[in-house]
C-alpha cells in the first residue's frame, strides 16, 4: 500500500516538472481547479417538429415526435416528398441523391441508420453526417468548423458547440440566401450613395 503511494508521488512530481513544459504557465489548471467542459448542443429539430402555432407567450409551439409516433408506426418510408402529409407536409429536399431510407429507420422516429446498418440515436446524427462529409467533420473535431458559445479558455469556463443540425437543415443543408443586417450608415458610405451632400463625391466607403 505504502509503496504504491510512493510511486504515485514520484510520477506526479515528474509530470509536474517535465511533461508539457513547453506549455505556458497559466494554461495548466491549478490542482483541484474547475476545468470547463465542451458540450455539443442538441437542437430541437432532432426531437420535435414545428406546428406553426405559438403558445400564450408567443413562443413557437413544437410537437415532440413521440407524441404521434408512439401510436403511429408507419410500415414503410415514403418514396417521394409528395407522399408526406400532416406535420411533414411541404418538406423541401435538396440533399444530393439521398432517399429517406439513407438515414431514417422505418417505424422508429428516434433512431437513424448509418450506411453500415448500425442504428444510432437521433442526437448522435453527427456521426451519420460524417460518413459523407469527412473534411467537415475533421475540421469540426479541431474546432475549425461550426459555431460555438462560451469560453475559448476552458480553465475559465465551459463551451457549447453547435451540432451539425443547428446550422444545416439535414433535408436542405446548403445555406439559403438571406438579407444582411446592419447596413452601414456612416458618412463615408452615405457619401458614396449620394446621401451626404457635404461630402458627396468623396469615396470613403471602401477600405483601402
Amino acid at each position: 500500500m505504502l509503496r504504491v503511494h510512493w510511486y504515485l508521488v514520484v510520477t506526479g512530481l515528474l509530470a509536474a516538472a517535465g511533461c508539457r513544459a513547453d506549455r505556458p504557465e497559466r494554461l495548466r489548471p491549478a490542482p483541484g481547479a474547475k476545468t470547463g467542459t465542451v458540450t455539443i448542443h442538441i437542437p430541437d429539430r432532432l426531437t420535435s417538429v414545428p406546428t406553426g402555432e405559438v403558445d400564450a407567450l408567443g413562443k413557437p409551439l413544437r410537437a415532440s415526435c413521440v407524441s404521434c409516433h408512439s401510436l403511429r408506426r408507419p410500415d414503410a418510408l415514403p418514396a417521394s416528398m409528395a407522399e408526406l402529409d400532416e406535420f411533414h407536409g411541404g418538406l423541401t429536399f435538396q440533399h444530393g441523391e439521398l432517399s429517406c431510407g439513407s438515414c431514417h429507420v422505418v417505424g422508429d422516429q428516434s433512431e437513424l441508420r448509418r450506411a453500415d446498418g448500425t442504428a444510432i440515436a437521433m442526437r448522435d446524427a453527427m456521426s451519420l453526417c460524417a460518413q459523407c462529409h469527412g473534411p467537415q467533420f475533421r475540421d469540426y473535431s479541431h474546432g475549425a468548423h461550426g459555431g460555438m458559445n462560451g469560453h475559448w479558455d476552458l480553465s475559465a469556463g465551459d463551451r457549447v458547440r453547435n451540432h451539425c443540425v443547428d446550422c444545416h437543415d439535414p433535408h436542405m443543408p446548403a445555406f439559403q440566401p438571406s438579407l444582411p443586417v446592419l447596413r452601414p450608415q456612416d458618412r463615408g458610405v452615405r457619401a458614396n450613395r449620394g446621401e451626404h451632400p457635404a461630402r458627396a463625391g468623396h469615396a470613403e466607403g471602401a477600405a483601402r
Partner: protein
C-alpha cells in the same frame, strides 16, 4: 518730413488698421480658448494632469473608473460597471476567419455594434464586411454597402476588422502615445488620452479605426453595462476607437461577441501559445492568407480557406 500734418493729426489709416487687427486678434483668441473655459465645467484638473495609463497606480486607476461610471450615469442615466482588464500571462491572441463559409450576413458587425456600445445612428461597428468579386482580392473594389440577399452569385465576403498587427503603423504615428500594443497582442486606445488627430486612422492599411464625430447615441436600455476601460466603455466625442478582440470578454476567457454571433462558424479564436488550440490547428493545417502581407504589418488576424 517730420512736420507732416498727416502724422501729427489724430487717427489715421495705420492706427485704424492696428485697432481693427488687435480687436480681431483678441476676438480670435477668445474664440479659440472657448473650449478651455467650457471644458473646465465637466472636466476636473486632476483629469487633465493625470498620468499616462501605464503609469497609473491601482488606486488612481480605480478612482478614474469610478468617476467614469458616475459620468456615464449622469450622461446616459445607466448604471454600468467599468473595469480594467489586464493582459493575462502566457496568452497571445490570434483570430482566423474562414472565407470559404462566410456568407456576408453582417451578424458579426451587428454583435459588435451591440457589445461595444456603438453609435446607433451610424450603425457603427468595428467590422466592415466587403463584398468582393470571386477571383479578385482588390479591396478597392470591395463594396461595404450591399443590401441584397446574400450570398450573391459570383461574390464572396471578407469581413475586415483590426488585425492587431505586431508591427502596427497606427501605434507608430500616434503623437501622444494614446494607443499601444499590449502584452497579449491587442492594440488598445486610451480614449481619455487620445487627442483626436486621426493620424492612426490614416495610417491603418485595413481601415480598422473609427473616429467619433459625435458622442455615441445609444438608448439607455441597449447600453451594455459590462465595460472595459480600454475596450467598450462609451467613447467621448472626438476620439478614435477600434476593435480590441472584445478584451473585456476575452481576457476573462470568453469568446469574442462576433465569433458567437457568426451563423456559419467562420471564426476561430484562441491562444497562439497553446499548441492544442483551435487557432493553432488552423494555422498549421489550412491555407492561410494574410491581408496586405507585403506591408509587413504582421497581423494577428488571418483568413483561411477550406479547399
Amino acid at each position: 518730413m517730420s512736420d507732416s500734418p498727416v502724422i501729427r493729426n489724430g487717427p489715421n489709416r495705420r492706427v485704424a488698421l492696428k485697432v481693427i487687427g488687435a480687436t480681431l486678434g483678441a476676438g480670435a483668441f477668445a474664440y479659440a480658448s472657448r473650449p478651455l473655459v467650457q471644458w473646465a465645467a465637466d472636466q476636473s484638473i486632476d483629469e487633465v494632469l493625470r498620468h499616462h495609463y501605464k503609469e497609473l497606480t491601482r488606486d488612481e486607476l480605480t478612482q478614474i473608473l469610478r468617476k467614469l461610471e458616475a459620468e456615464t450615469k449622469e450622461v446616459h442615466g445607466v448604471d454600468v460597471h467599468i473595469e480594467d482588464y489586464p493582459a493575462q500571462e502566457g496568452v497571445q491572441f490570434g483570430y482566423a476567419l474562414n472565407l470559404s463559409v462566410c456568407i456576408g450576413c453582417r451578424k458579426c458587425a451587428e454583435a459588435c455594434h451591440k457589445e461595444n456600445n456603438h453609435d446607433r445612428r451610424t450603425n457603427n461597428s468595428y467590422i466592415r464586411v466587403l463584398e468582393m468579386d470571386q477571383g479578385s482580392f482588390d479591396m478597392e473594389r470591395g463594396n461595404v454597402d450591399y443590401d441584397h440577399a446574400v450570398p450573391a452569385p459570383g461574390k464572396y465576403y471578407m469581413p475586415v476588422q483590426c488585425h492587431q498587427c505586431d508591427d502596427a503603423p497606427c501605434v507608430k504615428v500616434c503623437p501622444v502615445e494614446a494607443t499601444w500594443k499590449e502584452k497579449d497582442g491587442i492594440v488598445v486606445v486610451d480614449y481619455s488620452w487620445c487627442i483626436g488627430c486621426r493620424y492612426c486612422e490614416a495610417a491603418c492599411p485595413y481601415h480598422a479605426r473609427r473616429f467619433n464625430w459625435t458622442r455615441p447615441e445609444i438608448p439607455p436600455d441597449e447600453i451594455n453595462p459590462d465595460q472595459g476601460y480600454l475596450s467598450n466603455r462609451i467613447r467621448p466625442q472626438g476620439v478614435v476607437e477600434k476593435c480590441t478582440f472584445c478584451l473585456h470578454r476575452t481576457r476573462q476567457g470568453r469568446l469574442p461577441a462576433c465569433l458567437e454571433a457568426c451563423p456559419t462558424g467562420a471564426r476561430v479564436f484562441g491562444n497562439l501559445l497553446d499548441p492544442d488550440s483551435e487557432i493553432r490547428w488552423v494555422l498549421e493545417n489550412k491555407r492561410v492568407y494574410v491581408l496586405k502581407e507585403e506591408l509587413g504589418t504582421r497581423p494577428r488576424f488571418f483568413y483561411f480557406f477550406d479547399v
